[in-house]
């Protein structure tokens, strides 16, 4: 299958969702009352694995009000050791239960030598890492037919011995795994800036025709470094980058992430509305 056909197939049936929010517990009650202002909700899938019944009630309630997109962290697709078959089984059953239009993970690893990091660590940008990611993606896709999209991470560490530039590495992984891109524009801005590069240059090298979903969030600066804390209002630099991405990529949805320092919900929803307007302006949805 040619690259163009493969991407067309991947994106052909994915719905245009609009602008939504990553679900966090402090928003729960208010969010249910503001259903019309949120086009979809992203949930952290890991929070509902092995979850007690009262926790699953929350998921049922959210599912009654919103399209849910599960986002996972601990599958560890970049792990050179075997991916955990028990974890795969658990996420398979959660995804089946939610039947979302797609689901997401990261380009990185969270498990190694018995440790679970809880947040993705970077991979060396080598052919071997591409092969590892591909092998694990193939394993997972055998169990889960729902399209998989992968998120770019933000990391201050560059492994020694890179054989590829990072955007080329991301591109190779997505192509060989047949995955869409979850482009986190705040990660991109933070990552490229902290490494002394230009976010626009990085963006120009990415396979933008694979972007299905966009993450954006606020951060702050400390000791001359950007931090993607997900705890501040979205900066103008992020809005600008978001606009540039939505203008060029076939984005199906834009998702705001807010993890800390929670403001009243209307302040968050105002940012969701601004993102929705950007999508509308670039004719990604009505």
């Amino acid at each position: 299958m040619g690259r163009k056909t493969e991407i067309t197939n991947l994106l052909a049936n994915l719905p245009r969702l609009g602008a939504g929010l990553a679900y966090r517990e402090p928003f729960r009650d208010e969010l249910l009352q503001k259903q019309s202002e949120v086009d979809f909700v992203e949930i952290i899938g890991d929070h509902y694995l092995d979850a007690p019944p009262e926790r699953m009630d929350e998921l049922v309630l959210l599912g009654e009000h919103f399209t849910l997109i599960p986002h996972f962290t601990n599958l560890s697709l970049g792990s050179a050791e075997e991916i955990d078959p028990v974890y795969v089984e658990k996420i398979t059953s959660l995804i089946k239960r939610l039947s979302p239009p797609w689901w997401s993970e990261h380009i990185g690893y969270t498990r190694a030598g018995g440790m679970t990091l809880g947040h993705p660590a970077p991979l060396p940008f080598t052919k071997e890492s591409v092969d590892v990611m591909t092998r694990n993606i193939v394993t997972v896709r055998r169990a889960i037919a729902t399209p998989l999209i992968l998120e770019n991470i933000c990391s201050p560490l560059l492994w020694p011995g890179a054989e590829l530039a990072e955007p080329a590495f991301i591109s190779e992984v997505l192509t060989s795994g047949g995955c869409g891109l979850l482009l986190d524009v705040t990660n991109l801005l933070t990552h490229a800036t902290n490494l002394g590069g230009s976010p626009e240059d990085f963006l120009a090298e990415l396979p933008l025709d694979r972007v299905v979903q966009v993450h954006f969030s606020g951060g702050h600066e400390t000791n001359g470094r950007l931090v993607e804390s997900h705890a501040q209002p979205v900066s103008e630099a992020v809005w600008k980058l978001l606009d540039a991405v939505v203008a060029r990529a076939p984005v199906r949805c834009i998702c705001l992430e807010r993890d800390d320092n929670f403001p009243p919900l209307p302040e968050v929803l105002w940012q969701v509305e601004r993102a929705r307007a950007i999508g509308r302006q670039h004719r990604r949805w009505n």
């Binding site: 517990e25 009262e54 601990n74 050179a80 440790m115 990091l117 947040h119 933000c154 560490l157 020694p160």
Partner: protein
């Protein structure tokens, strides 16, 4: 499987402070002792500041997740929550699930309070209360009973509403969590 060993090494460098310092005293030597062969030399070039930054990034994410699991404790301790977390998170997160890190930190706070004291005095009780709730919820306890020397109900209400005015808040409290079956909803009584 050299890459698996390299990933393990990077994971340890990013989460284990003692190991990190030992590594940077002799990168090639430690890399070799961890089983790395072809990459031992190239790992000697890994940038210490980049590794420390990665450790900071991972610790901040752990802190955010633990804060979500212990919201009242976090409010009770204010900025010291993050300071104390920094002292706790010098080794890899225990377990595979997010709540396990919160349980680990709550246990650390209790030990810290016993050895060095913690202000306000009722803060360790709040941490222990939230840890018990996590245990009852995630470990699906059928019955869990805990006693506290402080007025948990009143403190929880004050913390949720905003500030807790100065005071001792000493009062013995019993908390009970139960499920009629492992598959039934958790019930809670606080007296």
């Amino acid at each position: 499987m050299e890459l698996a060993l390299q990933q393990k090494l990077v994971a340890r460098l990013a989460t284990d402070r003692e190991f990190r310092e030992k590594f940077f005293a002799d990168p090639a030597g430690v890399a070799a002792s961890e089983g790395l062969t072809v990459a031992a030399e190239s790992f000697a070039q890994i940038h210490p500041e980049q590794v420390r930054q990665l450790a900071r990034v991972l610790r901040r994410r752990r802190l955010a997740v633990v804060g979500i699991h212990l919201p009242l404790t976090r409010k009770a301790l204010g900025e010291r929550f993050a300071d104390l977390f920094r002292n706790y998170a010098v080794s890899p997160p225990p377990g595979k699930q997010p709540f396990e890190d919160a349980l680990g930190f709550a246990a650390f706070l209790e030990q810290h309070a016993a050895e060095k004291g913690l202000d306000p005095q009722w803060a360790p009780s709040i941490a222990r209360y939230e840890a018990a709730e996590l245990e009852a919820t995630w470990l699906r306890r059928r019955l869990l009973v805990r006693c506290f020397p402080h007025a948990i109900k009143q403190l929880a209400a004050l913390l949720t509403a905003g500030e807790v005015p100065p005071g001792s808040y000493q009062r013995s409290t019993t908390a009970v969590w139960w499920r009629t079956a492992a598959s039934s909803r958790l019930k809670h009584w606080l007296g």
